[in-house]
Amino acid sequence: MISTLINPKQIIAARVAKELRDGDVVNLGIGLPTMVPNFLPEDVNVILQSENGYIGLGPLEGEIDPDLVNAGGQPSSILPGGAFFDSLFSFELIRGGHVDVTVLGGLEVDANGNLANWMVPGKMVPGMGGAMDLVTGAKKVIVAMEHMAKNGSSKILQQCRLPLTGKGVVDMIVTELAVFRVTEAGLVLEELQEGVDLETVKEKTEASFTVNPALA
């Protein structure tokens, strides 16, 4: 499968997929995170939760039902065994620790596990939607994003500059260059993506980090 990874987003999604276990309840943010299921092995079946009120989210198949959309408002399906509920229950699941993993995009992540992904003051204020609840309540928070912004600056910072989505909430950062774990002592570089060397990651990461001895 590795040979088919042709762009950064696919590299990221494929690596995130390795974090998911059979039976996990997973909430995927819009954009890149929705690519993750494409890279799950056949024996790993996860249950996708959709914040607008169901579990068992599936891809659109057959006719569009205008009453059935995902959290991005796109037509979707519900798989056998799924269930619908209201928004209150949906967020009871999310905040209450009943979602095993959430995968979200990020504008900035920092060395303390802070995440900023909901607004750029003066430019873009879409609102936080369900993101603040997800990062607060999900058992494991994975940020899946490209290592650098479009202008080439690092998105992994010593300290976030944008308004936060959550404070100290991130467990893992997966980019097309590397995988970091967030610990009490700061960021630990756990893996280099294929063909990437340590110097490149150091150069393109603003935050300070330690390197897992296994990598040295």
Binding site: G73, F85, L88, R95, M128, G130, G137
Partner: protein, 220 residues
């Protein structure tokens, strides 16, 4: 008690300056014909409580576009560019609330609670101006109840007593809002006689529903 109403009667239920809740998630589960009735009634300066401001042409979006809203309380406004434009121009007040917190605030308003304690938003701008309460060593924000004068719901099916069944993901905020407004109006696709819905299947009990509007009009 006859709960069935016509489009003409719907438009008499709104007054300028009132607070309105509307069900829906990006327009899915929003009573589009009730929103149109509000537009035609020319009601202004409303405070709108909804998950999001949907799109320019659908959901509650047209209320924003046609400048009927003074303040909106929502979790997401990004899919309706007009909301952001009016906000930045200082023409519209926007209170952004995390989606789970919005649901809990509506629940609190509808269920006699003085608020809820949530960890969501601690350490972010959401905590500004709010009381922080520590319970067993963890910090929570005190989030206060939300209520409205009118709630606009969308259901798939009702009986004439107002018992409701929702369809697929169109349920979302509707059942919560049924508890949190003085007058609850529902738009339904299908109306059946009392007794035709199995009590086990009822998602919102009819005692919460004041008025039923059948989509496309109703012939008795």
């Amino acid at each position: 008690m006859d709960k069935m109403i016509s489009m003409e009667e719907v438009s008499t239920l709104f007054t300028d300056g009132m607070t309105i809740m509307a069900g829906g998630f990006m327009g899915v589960g929003t009573p589009q014909e009730l929103v149109s009735a509000m537009l035609e009634a020319n009601v202004r300066d409303i405070t709108l409580i909804a998950n999001d401001t949907a799109f320019i042409e659908t959901g509650v979006g047209p209320l924003i576009v046609n400048r009927r809203v003074k303040k909106v309380i929502a979790s997401h406004i990004g899919t309706n560019p007009e909301t952001g434009r009016q906000m930045i121009a200082g023409e519209l007040e926007v209170e952004l609330v995390p989606q789970g917190t919005l649901a809990e605030r509506v629940r609190a308003g509808g269920s006699g609670l003085g608020g809820v304690l949530t960890p969501t938003g601690v350490g972010t701008v959401v905590e500004e101006g709010k009381e922080k309460i520590t319970v067993d060593g963890r910090e929570y924000l005190l989030e206060k109840p939300l209520r409205a004068e009118v709630a606009l719901l969308k259901a798939y099916k009702a009986d004439k007593a107002g018992n409701l069944i929702y369809h697929r993901s169109a349920r979302n905020f509707n059942p919560l809002m049924a508890l949190a407004a003085d007058t609850v109006i529902v738009q339904v696709e299908q109306i059946v006689e009392i007794g035709d819905i199995d009590p086990d299947e009822v998602m919102t009990p009819g005692i919460l529903v004041d008025k039923i509007f059948v989509q496309g009009g109703y012939q008795s």
